[in-house]
């Protein structure tokens, strides 16, 4: 890992007006919602934050042509990519820590009891989701470019849930044109099971049990696999001279 690339990724975020504004919004939202006793839903905002920050994981240097310059130094492509992901993930984790502090502060202001276990569990779920989202964006970005990776991510999420929902409905059909499809799906339940497994692995919800060991392992494992695939593809990709 290259600490210079990590530090540069962090510096870019911390010095970015958008990042600072997002942090302020998160602080206001976190404190207010905790003060009125709302559940830890502001953490859902972190997912959006991760998508916005992650869309440029590979992009800026690639599109502006500066990647060629960076790679002319003794920095391996995978090292560069892993360091970029680490930098972006760390920048968003800082936001999660601030979010957690706002949540606690809001509850202290309102005098409501703080459920530490569930508050820590919500922060951990959010941190792991960010890790997976960033690694997936790095993977989608490794064969596309900035912003397109987010398009692929959102497109895949929508498409998978639509297909799963439609097949779930078709499974019940017993007559007409859909009847044959329904019978086929009933005879092969593994099709729906496999689709659900893919959806749950790529776009998982939070666990129903706090600090669920299996869920944590799934998130870290999938993130690691996505990052490894991203490195494999990115290391073989042609890097154009100048802006593309």
């Amino acid at each position: 890992m290259s600490l210079v690339v990590v530090a540069e990724a962090l510096r870019r975020h911390f010095a970015h007006l958008g990042y600072i504004s997002a942090l302020l919004i998160l602080i206001i939202m976190g404190t207010t919602m905790a003060a009125i006793g709302a559940p830890q839903t502001p953490y859902e905002m972190i997912g959006l934050f991760a998508l916005i920050a992650g869309c440029q994981l590979i992009g800026p240097e690639f599109s502006k042509g500066t990647l060629q310059l960076i790679l002319s130094k003794p920095v391996g492509r995978s090292t560069y990519l892993v360091s970029r992901v680490v930098g972006v993930v760390l920048a968003i984790w800082v936001a999660i820590i601030i979010m957690f502090a706002s949540d606690v502060a809001g509850r202290l202001i309102a005098g409501t009891p703080i459920a530490w276990r569930s508050a820590l569990a919500a922060a951990l779920v959010s941190a792991l989701k960010v890790l997976l989202v960033c690694c997936l964006l790095a993977f989608f970005g490794s064969f596309s470019r900035s912003y397109v990776n987010v398009g692929i991510y959102l497109g895949a999420q929508i498409l998978l849930s639509m297909i799963t929902g439609m097949l779930g409905m078709m499974k019940n059909a017993v007559s007409g044109e859909m009847g044959a499809i329904g019978a086929f799906l009933r005879a092969h339940p593994d099709i729906l099971r496999a689709l659900n497994a893919i959806t749950n692995n790529l776009f998982p919800d939070g666990p129903s049990i706090p600090f669920d060991r299996n869920w944590i392992l799934m998130m870290v494992c999938n993130a690691s696999a996505a990052l490894l695939l991203a490195c494999v593809i990115f290391s073989r990709r042609e890097v154009p001279y100048g802006a593309d």
Binding site: A38, P74, L192, D212
Partner: protein
């Protein structure tokens, strides 16, 4: 020119060995870990099966607390983490209610078990999570749609003492 400054394409494109090892170890760990699901030690609410709920409520003179949820429902998981896994709240639920968890499987399996669908139709469940507090003969005493936070849920539980 010193060799350290030359462009070494092969070295530059090498994969980080540590990432390959870590990924393989994680895959093995995940495979082993899924054989030991984490459930029993943290499920603090004593859930009663749907078929036994009415009789249990009648015997103990306690209302039934139905939690309608689905595996894909994020807020349901927050409700479960913040309320049903909380020692104090779970204790109150166990003392004052007959708790019944009703999980919708429409999306995953295309249909629900008849007893689940019957309950969902009876209480007009259209979204998750929905919590219904009903008497032993099925009359609705309270119905809360969505999860609005631990404190509000604690107040709902406290309505029955």
């Amino acid at each position: 020119m010193p060799t350290s400054l030359t462009f070494d394409r092969k070295k530059q494109r090498a994969l980080p060995v540590w990432l390959v090892i870590v990924t393989l170890l994680l895959i093995v760990a995940r495979f082993v870990s899924t054989r030991y699901p984490v459930t029993s030690d943290v499920d603090l609410v004593h859930w009663t099966p749907i078929s036994m709920a009415s009789a249990a409520a009648m015997r103990s003179h306690r209302p039934i607390l139905y939690e309608f949820s689905a595996d894909w429902c994020g807020p349901c998981h927050i409700l479960e983490r913040e309320v049903f896994m909380d020692t104090a709240l779970a204790g109150k639920i166990n003392d004052r209610y007959i708790a019944v968890k009703v999980v919708d499987r429409q999306r995953e399996e295309g249909s629900n078990a008849p007893e689940v669908q019957q309950l969902m139709d009876r209480y007009g469940i259209r979204a998750f999570p929905t919590v219904v507090i009903a008497t032993s003969d099925g009359h609705v005493r309270d119905k809360v749609l969505g999860y609005t936070g631990r404190d509000k849920f604690a107040a709902l539980i406290d309505r029955v003492r």
